[in-house]
């Protein structure tokens, strides 16, 4: 009896995609922490890295069968990122 069982090819593909999402999320976590705060325009870099982690989570939601949630967040995430960078530019960077 093998320790790891693979019931069918579909769950094998799902597992591979979930593991790829886990790797992307970990890289996203490392990425947003590694930049120093005094780096110029570090905010926009972190928003970009956050976008990668967002897309990994959307991919995971699709694999887990939550299509409504994935579609909702796929639409909202760009507005989210743009609103934050717009607010940072006009609210904090230009002053």
């Amino acid at each position: 009896m093998a320790f790891i069982e693979v019931t069918d090819p579909i769950s094998l593909v799902k597992s591979i995609i979930l593991i790829i999402c886990a790797i992307l999320v970990i890289l996203g976590g490392i990425g947003i922490l590694r930049y120093k705060d005094d780096l110029e325009r570090v905010m926009y870099a972190r928003i970009h890295i956050l976008g990668i982690a967002d897309m990994a989570c959307i991919l995971a939601l699709l694999v887990l069968g939550e299509f409504l949630l994935a579609a909702a967040y796929f639409i909202l995430a760009p507005f989210n990122a743009h609103a934050i960078s717009n607010a940072y530019y006009y609210g904090e960077e230009k002053n």
């Binding site: 979930l18 999320v25 989570c57």
Partner: protein
């Protein structure tokens, strides 16, 4: 043990680590950095809740995740409008 279950557990651990990183970012100095951290945290927690729903069959965590995924960005956009200021 089923490979799909193992990969779901791996994703939960990765999302937990990412959540700690986003909480760490939230404490940095600018207000907008707090927004970045919290928007990352809301999607990470929502995905963890969906994984709990799949693994343990907790139906209510799917509803909480839906609320988080919809209200998280809406709140962030509203706060960004305030942070942006006049004009």
């Amino acid at each position: 043990m089923d490979l799909l279950l193992i990969s779901e557990y791996i994703l939960i651990v990765a999302l937990a680590i990412f959540s700690l990183a986003t909480i760490r970012i939230t404490t940095r100095k600018t207000t907008a950095m707090g927004l970045v951290g919290l928007s990352g945290l809301s999607i990470a927690v929502a995905t963890i809740l969906i994984l709990f729903k799949n693994i343990y069959g907790l139906a209510f965590s799917g509803d909480i995740a839906l609320a988080l995924i919809v209200l998280g960005p809406v709140g962030t956009i509203a706060f960004s409008k305030v942070l942006r200021g006049g004009g």
